[in-house]
Subunit: 372 residues, 2 copies
Amino acid sequence: MNIKENIKTLVIKNPLKLDCGKTINNFPLAYETYGSLNKNKDNAILVFHALTGDQFVTGINPVTKKDGWWSYAVGPNKSIDTNKYFVICANVIGGCMGSFGPSHKNPDTNKIYGTDFPVITINDMVNAQVNLLDHFEIKKLFSVVGGSMGGMQVLQFISNYPDKAGTVVPIACTSSHSAQNIAFNELGRQAIASDHNWFDGKYLSNNTLPDKGLSVARMAAHITYLSKKGLQEKFGRKLQERDALKFGFDADFQIESYLRYQGSVFVDRFDANSYLYITRAMDYFDLVKQFDGNLSNAFKKTKAKFFVISFTSDWLYPTQENKDIVIALNAIGADVGFVEIKSDKGHDSFLLDVPDFLNTLKNFLDKSYSER
Amino acid sequence: MNIKENIKTLVIKNPLKLDCGKTINNFPLAYETYGSLNKNKDNAILVFHALTGDQFVTGINPVTKKDGWWSYAVGPNKSIDTNKYFVICANVIGGCMGSFGPSHKNPDTNKIYGTDFPVITINDMVNAQVNLLDHFEIKKLFSVVGGSMGGMQVLQFISNYPDKAGTVVPIACTSSHSAQNIAFNELGRQAIASDHNWFDGKYLSNNTLPDKGLSVARMAAHITYLSKKGLQEKFGRKLQERDALKFGFDADFQIESYLRYQGSVFVDRFDANSYLYITRAMDYFDLVKQFDGNLSNAFKKTKAKFFVISFTSDWLYPTQENKDIVIALNAIGADVGFVEIKSDKGHDSFLLDVPDFLNTLKNFLDKSYSER
């Protein structure tokens, strides 16, 4: 990937003390913006991306040449209306789209970090991104919005910076990563670490890539993003370009070809070590524990207006885990709305063309903006 | 593994035409028995094992030196009471505990089959095992019982041999493998095929084993055997022998250590190619399609008494898929009972100490036996 020429980068000069104890500074944060910041600088929305996302939210991603990951939701007249709002999104630290990550060189050794890169957390990610507000001279964001790991960043951001956003929209997420989700992430990490070309994370120095392992990790994750019912309706037992079973190990079923394809295209755009680091950050996320078991305390300093969204068929971050956030907010009388959107598209619903979701998100933002 | 000395083997002389078109004969079927066949030879129960099971149902498995896979359910005075019943179980063909499988030598080439072994189906498995009835001179089994893939064999057996069993107990299974389950199996196969030591299935000839890939496959499967709630209750976010996060990629959480352990012990007892073949057989299973979309027709020739059992937290073979079998049986006025057992232990419930299940199974068998 030749990514440099298309990437805007802010060099963060402020030292950032990471949760692991190390301090980083003068590190790059890659970001993109959409729409225009108004004169009052009160129309900015910080969007946080999920595990495999990046800063290229909408339009054509200049690196992958494919649609941005949230093209259904973000753009002119869309849910997050770029005619109205100034949208900012940064690649998370630990990522592989220009922000400081394990594929960068360690200036002390002049070698690629690999797994010598410090383990980062969701807290570290948002503490890096808050620097964007100073850069754009924004005192307070109109909103922070994100789904999945993006939702975790939303929750962490408002907890860390209670006065820096007026509205808060965590989507299809959790306040504490579950055992099952840790298990699936660990499965992905083990698939990568099992790859003969992984070299304990030093694959770039060995001029190779653990692409088979990364592909298997992606396949595993992809299954969790879809619902059982959705898979059954979309693929069922349909065969792949054949009339009968072949009695071999080629992809007989469409679902097999689909998964293999998802795995194979992923390795062209994602770094295996970033996959390890970002899944680790998700697994470490436990906002409940950060506040000694009382999630309400994470939000008691903010006056922001919350809107929590879940999806009926999301079994990775099921409605109950989203409701736990609502319960914690209600317990302190916070301003919180909640909706569970009916969809068979599983966890991926927030990324897809689900009109009820897209309309609901637009209505909340536009109404809140006109009432601000 | 030195398995030969502990294994009873029946050489099947009758040619068996496989679904793939090939015919096999003079092939070994490894089996074990428990209890005694009575004089009338009407107390026999054929138990079918699941994906990674074998013929050593109960007591100490002489090869692995661990408890048999169904020790909770099978034994003196247990659900399947070996004081009363004569229990037979055979290793499925395609397996790796003595029955004809991919680790055997091809007599035509004197080389280990590997992936030159013919693809087998659930239908082939039961057609091989029916030979055990002739061997023991049993005209009619008292019962056929099995969970998961064992349940698929139960359904296929009674469909193929409607007069050869008096009672039929499919547990936690399906009549048609779902897209999600095919997806998880394909994930496991791809993990194995991605292993540098797989050599397109010729690893034994290369004196190596694709144990990393097989271990990842087992980890993936293991997650699906447990429920989200069960995992949360058992592991939650508990740390592994430490008080705080280590900010590295060692197993921080107990669930990570547990999965790694499950993967590592599995490779000592299971053959990677058998894993490929048996998962393929499961994916190919579609009794509904065998009967042109009308599952009832699979059962219309039998007068057997059915008892279908599912578990509330089994998301791999959920209650609805088990109920579909009941519905098909009810549609033809068959004698069928059904129970959904409440359990948080997921698909694995049928293998574990779930008293409601164990009692229910015992009551059905013993009552049916006394009424026969």
